[in-house]
């Protein structure tokens, strides 16, 4: 089963295409990384995948053919948006209550145990938590929904290295222990190198080149590197 399938997907805001001619398949059980420079359309692609916006062209389905944004799709996908939006004026316990109320499944013991582990008191208001704790809270709420696909938009961009490590450890634990498929976007390549085992490159207004990410020069990704103006990674040497 493919957790995400897009064909000819495009999104236009006014006259500019944020994403164009995007065709990809992400098989289940992977930690897939969506990489590309700022403005390449990473967030646009994720928004289309979770159903926050509707495509201008093409189509995207999730979890084996469910239209993105349909009730069945929403039920199986958990999304942590950029900057981990939370109701900042509400206590942590209320955030848990709201998430539990808005979903058919919610693993309360898991959420409770995670918060205890993280040392987040349930009565504390969300805005009083540190950036790392807020990100962890958002991730906990998402994972407690027991999703089949976890979508993360720039999850670690605002975090310091320690919080970054902790966050990714939680994601990887969920992926390996519970078999959750993960799709995350990032422009921090070193982070992806450690966690991702599937790569989608976005450059300009297009996407594609899926493949295994092992080093900076995997055979399948080489073509991608050559074509994309990727600043943080040296282009692989061409071999005969």
């Amino acid at each position: 089963m493919n957790v995400v399938e897009a064909s000819g997907l495009g999104k236009r805001y006014g006259r500019t295409w944020a994403l164009r001619e995007c065709t990809l398949e992400i098989p289940a059980g992977r930690v897939a990384a969506l990489v590309g420079p700022n403005g390449a359309g990473k967030t646009t692609l994720l928004n289309l995948t979770v159903g926050l916006s509707a495509p201008s062209a093409g189509a995207v389905t999730v979890l084996g053919g469910r239209p993105a944004g349909s009730p069945a799709a929403l039920d199986g996908i958990a999304f942590v948006a950029q900057d981990t939006p939370l109701y900042k004026n509400l206590p942590v316990a209320d955030m848990i209550y709201i998430t539990r109320s808005l979903n058919r499944r919610f693993d309360q013991p898991y959420a409770q145990a995670r918060l205890d582990e993280l040392g987040i008191p349930p009565k504390r208001k969300a805005w009083k938590l540190s950036g790392g704790q807020q990100a962890q809270l958002a991730l906990t709420l998402a994972l407690a929904r027991r999703p089949r696909l976890l979508v993360l938009d720039e999850p670690v961009a605002m975090l310091d290295p320690v919080a970054r490590h902790d966050f990714m450890a939680t994601v990887l634990a969920a992926a390996s222990a519970d078999g959750v498929s993960v799709l995350l976007s990032s422009h921090v390549l070193t982070e992806l190198e450690r966690v991702a085992n599937y790569l989608i490159l976005l450059s300009g207004a297009g996407c594609g080149w899926p493949g295994q990410l092992m080093t900076c020069s995997p055979p399948t990704a080489r073509q991608a590197w050559r074509n994309s103006p990727w600043p943080t990674c040296a282009r692989p040497q061409r071999r005969r």
Binding site: M1, P71, L74, D75, A81, P85, S101
Partner: protein
Amino acid sequence: MTARTMPARPDEADARLRPVPWRRMAGVTWRQHRIALAGVAVLLGALAVYLWIAGTQVNHAWAAAVACHPASSAACQGLDSTLDGMDNFLSNGFILQVLPVLIGAFTGAPVLARELETGTFRYAWTQGFGRRRWALAKLVLLAVVVTAAAGAFGALLSWYYQPFLGNQALGLPKTTPLTPGLFDLRGVGLPAWTLAAFAIGALAGMLIRRVVPAIVATLVVYTGLAFATAGFLRQHYLTPLLTSNTLNVPGNAWVISQWWTKDGRFAFTGFPPSNLLNQFCPPPPAGKGGPSEGWGPCLSQHGYTQWTSYQPTSRFWSFQWIEGGWLLALSALLIAATIWLVHRRAA
């Protein structure tokens, strides 16, 4: 695609059959909006206490003035003027006109504007509940709550204003219940206008996506609507009655307009032109005393007729239901448009 599927979870099969129950939105809405709702409760509660105390005094003064015999005695006149002088800043109702829009703007505008401003819509709209149902449940719940609160407060206001309107028996200036300041505070007027303000606020929040500008826009749009209704629309709910005899017009009727005709043709409205007055009814020379009759009766003697169109007080409840009805329809339309925008909006 190869037929490799993930193991189905026990509750996977009924994913399409059982949506998340509606009733769960009650707790969610309460947790998210309890501060705004508590603010409304405090505002209305404090005003209610004040109105209860002031209203009790007014009602006592009214009862005393009505019971006083004979009505023309000096003591009774004193009681009448006491009643007339009470609560002047409240009795014309103009201060309380801001109540519906305050409640509506501060509860309605943030519902979507705050989600869009802080980015939490990306959380709320990706939960299993579904964003259209989420918006529908939230807006309808909040609308019902603020409308009910305004309705209860409107009942108190109706009681409070009763003595000021029921004073035909007393020799006091007549206040019509159809007067712009009071009409929309009594009966179904207050809840209907509060609901309209809430709906305007919700749509403004969805369109503008910022809390404070949305509140300001709500205040502006609501004020325009309220003025247009009071100034132009309300008088046309039912065809006004027309009479050529001023004495036929009840003292507490709502006079829409007055004009003069001669020989079946329109002559003038308001004050007569000076050449007309000089021709027929020259003002008495200065110094010569004698109570002037004024130009009205004088012009009547010269074949002029004064016409008055008015709305009788007996139409109060018809007007209330007409206004309540179209405001309800408007609010439903605005809320439907808001939900449609939530459904349509691209992130």
